[in-house]
Amino acid sequence: MQPQDVMDDLKAIRQIMERARRASDGFGGWFMVLWGVIWFLGFTGTHILLHLQQDEAINWLWTPLNALGVLGSVWLGIRMAQRARTKSSSLWTSILFWWLALAAFDGVLIWQFRLYTNGLHMALLIVLTIALGYIQFGLFTHWSISTIGLFLGLLAVILATWLPAYFNLGIAFLGGGAMIGGGLWALRYGG
C-alpha cells in the first residue's frame, strides 16, 4: 500500500466512526431543538398574554404546547430506539419517566406551597427544575447539556431577581435560543 492510500483509509475510518457515533446518538439534539421551540413559543406567548391581561389564556397556551412536546419526545424516543440500540437509545424510557418524576415533584411543590398564586415563582420553579434536569442529564451523557442547564438556571435566577418584567421574554429568547442552539450544535458535532 502507498502512504497516500493508507492516509485515505485512516481518514475514511475516522469519518465513518464519527458518522456512526453521531447518527446513533444525535437524537439528543432533536429533543433540545423541540423543547427550545416550545419554550420560545410558550414564554413569548405568556409575555404577550400578560401584557394583554389575559392571564387565564396562559394555561390554554401551555397545555397544547406541553402535549406537543411530550408526544414529540415519545416519537423521537421510538425512532431513536429503532435505529441503533445505544446507551442513550436504550435508556430513553427511563429518561422519559425521570422527566415525568421531576414534573410530578414540581406539581406537588406548586400545590403545597401555593405557588400557582404567583406566576413568576411558579415559572421560576419549573425553569430551575428543568435546568437541574439538564445539568444531571449532562453528567451522564455530554458536558454541553450540563452547560446549557447551568446557563438556564443562572438566567432564570438573574431575570427573576433583577428583571422580573422581562422574565418570560428573556427565557423565550435566551433560554429557548440556547436550547435550540445547543441542540443544533449537538446534531452537528455530536452530543
Binding site: M1, L10, I16, M17, A20, S24, R83, A84, R85
Partner: protein
C-alpha cells in the same frame, strides 16, 4: 511492511467494522441503520456481515419487534481487537520510525 488482516482489509468490511467500532462497547446497530449509514444494498451488507461473523468479528441477532423482523449487529471484543490491530498496522506503514 506489517501484515494486514485480509478479512478487514476488504473496503466494504473495513467500513462496516469502522461503523460498529464507532459505537460504544455494548451498543448495537440496526441492520437498516447500518445499511443507510454506509450506502450499501441489503444483499451486499448481508454477504459482508456473514464473512465478518464467520471470522468472529461481529455478532448478528435476528429478533421480532411485534410482527416486524429486526436484525441487530454489533462488534465482538475479538472484532474490536482485530480492528484496533488493523488501524495500528496502517499507522505502522505510515510512521514506521515512530513505532
Amino acid at each position: 511492511m506489517p501484515e494486514l488482516d485480509p478479512v478487514i482489509h476488504q473496503p466494504t468490511r473495513l467500513r462496516i467494522m469502522a461503523a460498529l467500532v464507532g459505537l460504544d462497547e455494548g451498543d448495537r446497530a440496526d441492520f437498516i441503520f447500518l445499511r443507510d449509514l454506509l450506502g450499501l444494498t441489503d444483499g451486499n451488507l448481508s454477504v459482508h456481515l456473514q464473512r465478518l461473523e464467520e471470522a468472529g468479528y461481529v455478532r448478528v441477532e435476528k429478533t421480532f419487534i411485534g410482527r416486524r423482523p429486526k436484525t441487530w449487529v454489533w462488534a465482538t471484543p475479538k472484532g474490536r481487537a482485530a480492528f484496533a490491530a488493523y488501524v495500528d498496522a496502517l499507522e505502522d506503514i505510515l510512521y514506521p520510525q515512530e513505532r
